[in-house]
């Protein structure tokens, strides 16, 4: 049976309503030449030939499996246990679309509930939603929450220059046209004390990153106090993997903790899909965007899961909802829940420690090279910046061509004052030999 939604009579009625006689008349505004253009498609080929062509295309890509990767800057090369993919690819999870009749999908709801619980454990926060697209959109939603918390009466957002540049751009995109003033990130030297100096009674939120874009670890307790003194919210954007080792941001009295979940069991995949964490203190739960799964008991006293507090969402509150984002990345949230379960508390700490120690070994070796200067001063996690004796693009070209190494991120792209500075990420995937190769390569390129 053909699925044709309109009858001929209905079509005629619609055409008459817009004042044209036929469907062709309706398309008169489209120039005839482009109405049915010749697409110049090649001859049909067999599946075998298609596979060969796609294979060749995919092999033209460089990936972290076939190179040695020291590139991070927001997406990190970590080991993903095979159990993650195994569970992820079960048809019940892999093919399911968003549960519009959610309580029928108890398995999906339980998976989201487990994810939320794990993220709360990791951050120390009271409530986690079912997730957002990525760290950048989660941070933008934090700004929207803070704006609504103040009922639109405050207009200033203080952003740390240590927040990922793309995340700051996303916040600006989300908040454009709202008459807000986003400050703090224009000067690279703005530390916590300087950011605290920008807080006033018109400030709705101050946001920082932990560890920051340069890998730096800072205690934001004093900044949290300063923010709360003027009624502003403290938002901390985290790398959740680092929380295996670091003090949870709830201890800074953070009101909102967001982050990108990619390091937890999600491959880099040339840039996505990723996962956005979003957690708040309980008092902000009704202003929170997105879905929220809760645990309950059914009529027979059995444990069950429901979408809870959905009155705050778009399908009930409509234009009055604080955010119209209900989408979550359920599959990626599941991946990170499985990852965290497989790693356990000790496993996660071990990965974080490996990253930390290997990065510190690398920093020490590179910092000792002639022509290279370690930019980071205080504590850092698994990423650090170094000033190179030559432009970063030249250094990276040499590392790739001569050593098969994907070098670091060129910080001059985002921070003009950091021209010739490279951001290097080291994870548990990098062996000592690989780090030594990187150091040797950097040493050599300095003299070329």
């Amino acid at each position: 049976m053909a699925y044709i939604p309109h009858t001929e009579d209905e079509r005629q009625a619609m055409l008459a309503a817009v004042g044209v006689r036929s469907l062709d008349d309706l398309y008169q505004a489209v120039p005839a030449a482009v109405r049915f253009p010749d697409l110049e498609l090649p001859e049909a080929v067999s599946e075998l030939e298609v596979m060969e062509e796609l294979q060749a295309l995919s092999e033209a890509n460089l990936d972290a499996r076939h190179t040695v990767c020291f590139l991070g800057a927001g997406a990190y090369n970590h080991f993903v246990p095979s159990v993650v993919d195994h569970i992820l690819r079960r048809g019940e999870f892999y093919t399911a679309y968003t549960p519009y009749q959610p309580e029928v999908s108890q398995g999906t709801l339980q998976a989201i509930f487990e994810y939320q619980s794990l993220i709360c454990n990791l951050t120390g926060m009271d409530v986690s939603n079912a997730s957002h697209y990525d760290g950048a959109t989660a941070l933008a939603e934090a700004a929207i929450l803070a704006y609504n918390h103040h009922r639109g009466k405050r207009s200033k957002i203080v952003l740390s220059p240590g927040i990922h540049p793309h995340y700051r751009q996303t916040v600006r995109t989300y908040m454009q046209g709202m008459g807000l003033n986003l400050v703090g990130d224009a000067a690279l030297g703005n530390d916590s004390a300087a950011l605290a100096g920008l807080l006033d009674s018109d400030t709705l939120m101050v946001a920082v990153q932990y560890p920051d874009f340069f890998g730096r670890i800072e205690d934001f307790t004093a900044l949290g106090k300063a923010a709360h003194a003027v009624g502003a919210l403290l938002c901390v954007c985290v790398n959740p993997l680092a929380l295996g080792l670091l003090k949870p941001p709830a201890e800074f009295d953070a009101d909102i903790v967001v982050g990108d979940g990619q390091p937890l069991g999600i491959p880099m995949s040339f840039g996505g899909p990723s996962l956005g964490h979003f957690t708040v203190k309980k008092e902000f739960v009704r202003k929170m965007a997105g879905r929220l799964v809760g645990e309950t008991v059914d009529g027979r006293g059995q444990r069950g899961f429901v979408l809870t507090l959905s009155t705050r969402e778009q399908h009930i509150k409509r234009e009055k909802a604080t955010s119209n984002i209900c989408t979550n990345v359920a599959l990626m949230a599941l991946a990170s829940a499985v990852y965290l379960s497989a790693m356990g508390k000790r496993g996660l700490r071990q990965v974080a420690e490996l990253c930390y120690h290997k990065a510190h070994y690398a920093a020490e070796q590179i910092g000792g090279l002639k022509g290279y200067t370690l930019w980071n001063r205080g504590e850092f996690f698994h990423e650090f910046a170094v000033r190179c004796p030559r432009p970063v693009a030249d250094v990276n070209r040499f590392l790739l061509d001569e050593c098969g190494i994907l070098g670091g991120y060129d910080l001059g792209q985002d921070y003009p004052e950091l021209r010739d500075h490279m951001l290097i990420a080291v994870t548990e995937m990098n062996s000592k030999e690989q780090i030594d190769d990187l150091v040797a390569g950097l040493k050599e390129v300095a003299h070329v």
Binding site: R151, R286, T311, R312, I316, K317, K320
Partner: protein
């Protein structure tokens, strides 16, 4: 269903108690029964703020729906019931008493005349339930 005779009512189901220059506002017995169990109340208006007639000053959520509550007459907010966020169930159990929501200084007394009395409001509710 109770409709106290000493109150005035708005078509959007708020009640108003006028005492001199001040008006106390809440939602009617009919409104609370339509919403069913109320689980969350947020008064978005702040003391000192002047709110126009017909503008939302609070939002109420029940297990069934989320609703905005509108101010039936223009006024400057002089008091907000701080008990409600902690005990939203008062909205169901005592809509005309402990669940008063906001108190305003009436800006235009002529607007009082535009409200319904108990009998007219009872009729208004009756018409909608058929």
């Amino acid at each position: 269903m109770e409709f106290p005779k000493d109150l005035k009512y708005a078509t959007s189901d708020e009640w108003v108690r006028v005492e001199g220059k001040t008006a106390t506002v809440g939602i009617s017995d009919y409104a609370q029964s339509q919403l069913s169990d109320i689980v969350f109340v947020e008064v978005t208006a702040a003391v000192g703020e002047t709110i126009e007639q017909g503008k939302a000053f609070a939002s109420v959520e029940s297990v069934k729906a989320a609703s905005e509550i509108y101010l039936p007459l223009k006024g400057k907010v002089v008091a907000v019931n701080d008990e409600l966020p902690g005990t939203p169930e008062l909205m169901n159990s005592d809509p005309y008493g402990k669940a008063w929501m906001i108190r305003v200084e009436i800006a235009d007394t002529a607007q009082v005349a535009g409200l319904m009395d108990a009998a007219a409001y009872a009729k208004h509710c009756d018409e909608r339930s058929h």
